[in-house]
């Protein structure tokens, strides 16, 4: 599976580099934060190859690199927390086709008590969709099996309306 990263709500998913800037293999990835009111998850990476698979043990999850050819699935590190807003609902909303493997939490304030949300590593099935909130807007994410698509809620409704009319639904004015 390919490993993608959504750095923040609204940003485009990008392939995560499995090498550091020095050219050395990445030793682990982190989800969440360390500190009061927060939770950090560390996922080690071993092996060689362009893709990864997640392997579960009693102690945690490990990513194993190799030349895997999985049927349309991918892994994604999803940060659902945007800029600070006391009351904004940060999380992965309306998700379908998403299986969380490791989760962490990101929070605001020294004690981590004035809002926050999750950052997860998840297996994404073909056809999966979910919605993330940034401070002022929302973005829908869809994984087709080969690529990511993003659209605003308004664009999504417009596309669904067009589909319905093309299939004979709707009412003529």
């Amino acid at each position: 599976m390919k490993l993608y990263q959504i750095e923040s709500p609204g940003s485009s998913p990008a392939l995560m580099k499995l090498e550091t800037e020095d050219g050395k293999p990445l030793a682990n990835i982190t989800v969440g934060e360390r500190g009061r009111g927060r939770h950090e998850g560390i996922i080690p990476i071993i092996g060689e190859g362009p893709e990864v698979r997640a392997k579960k043990t009693d102690e945690g999850v490990v990513l194993v690199r190799g030349d895997w050819r999985d049927g349309g699935q991918c892994l994604a590190a999803i940060n659902a927390v945007g800029s600070y807003d006391r009351y904004r609902s940060y999380g992965i909303h309306d998700a379908r086709g998403l299986q969380t493997v490791v989760s962490g939490s990101i929070a605001f304030g020294d004690a981590g008590r004035i809002n926050g949300g999750e950052e997860v590593l998840a297996v994404v099935e073909p056809g999966a969709i979910f919605r993330l909130n940034s401070k002022y807007a929302s973005t829908w994410y869809m994984w087709t099996g080969t690529e990511w698509r993003t659209e605003s809620p308004g664009e999504r409704k417009a596309r669904l309306a067009l589909q319905k009319v093309e299939q004979g639904g709707g009412e003529w004015l």
């Binding site: 002022y136 807007a137 596309r159």
Partner: protein, 264 residues
């Protein structure tokens, strides 16, 4: 049986043929205000990028869909993209454009800005033929004219020449009836009783003095006294728009001179 619509874009006193389409949608692209909360498109369409001219309109639960129709179809209604706006920094003296929707139109969708300098609120409406031109013809896009809310006036064929001085028309934001009413009050005013000093002071004293002499608390009909007192002086203290002359040929440059000339 679907109704064929001719597509128009209305912004202020301009009506343009067609509605712009991009990526299968009628986008919301305001010039004023912010769109950081991602207001959605106003409609979707299977048409390619460009301009929609004649369309059929379908309403689904999720939104409005515009389907292009044949060239030979005769439009029975107008589909109007109404771009209402309120100007922001740097253009604040130019009037804002707003439309009062009556029972003759059906609102299909809308989008608006959130915050920022100025604001825009767009509507997609289905309206009778001639509606857009009717609205556009009533909007006066002149500096200092003030924001206007325009409603459909059946039978209105556009602006006609007005006998009201331009500054009075601006002071009453284009309301000719009110402007004429004010001009009538000015004509009846006994200006000889106006105190020169009070009438030459600021807004509050000018207003109080005119109300005292006229006995009419609503003399100014909501206009700014500073904007219309020049008209009062012009009507009562000058002849044919020029400073009055004494017997020696000198001209009177002040209200006091005019009153003295009148023997007061």
């Amino acid at each position: 049986m679907s109704t064929s619509h001719t597509a128009l874009t209305l912004r202020g006193n301009r009506v343009e043929n067609g509605i712009s389409v991009s990526n299968g949608q009628v986008p919301f692209r305001p010039r004023w205000g912010m769109t950081r909360d991602n207001p959605g498109p106003l409609a979707s369409t299977p048409a390619p990028d460009g301009n929609l001219d004649k369309v059929h309109v379908a309403i689904a639960d999720e939104g409005v869909v515009l389907v292009p129709c044949g060239e030979t179809e005769t439009p029975q209604k107008e589909l109007v993209l109404v771009e209402q706006y309120h100007t922001g920094s740097g253009r604040g003296r130019w009037p804002g454009f707003h439309v009062g929707l009556g029972p003759e139109v059906r609102e299909l969708s809308s989008a608006s800005t959130g915050g920022g300098s100025g604001s825009e609120y767009w509507l997609l409406v289905s309206a009778p033929l001639g509606w857009a031109e009717n609205i556009a013809s009533q909007f006066v896009n002149e500096r200092d004219y003030g924001d206007q809310v325009i409603s459909f006036k059946p039978g209105n064929t556009g602006k006609k020449e007005s006998d009201v001085p331009r500054d009075i028309l601006i002071a009453f934001q284009g309301n000719e009836d009110r402007a004429h009413e004010f001009m009538t009050k000015v004509a009846r005013l006994d200006a000889s009783k106006l105190d020169e000093h009070e009438f030459s002071c600021g807004r509050a004293r000018k207003k109080a003095e005119v109300i005292r002499v006229s006995g009419d608390a609503d003399f100014f009909l909501g206009a700014d006294p500073l904007s219309v007192c020049g008209y009062i002086a012009e009507v009562h203290f000058s002849q044919e728009g020029e400073p009055r002359q004494d017997a020696g040929g000198g001209s009177f440059g002040s209200l006091g001179d005019a009153l003295r000339e009148a023997g007061l």
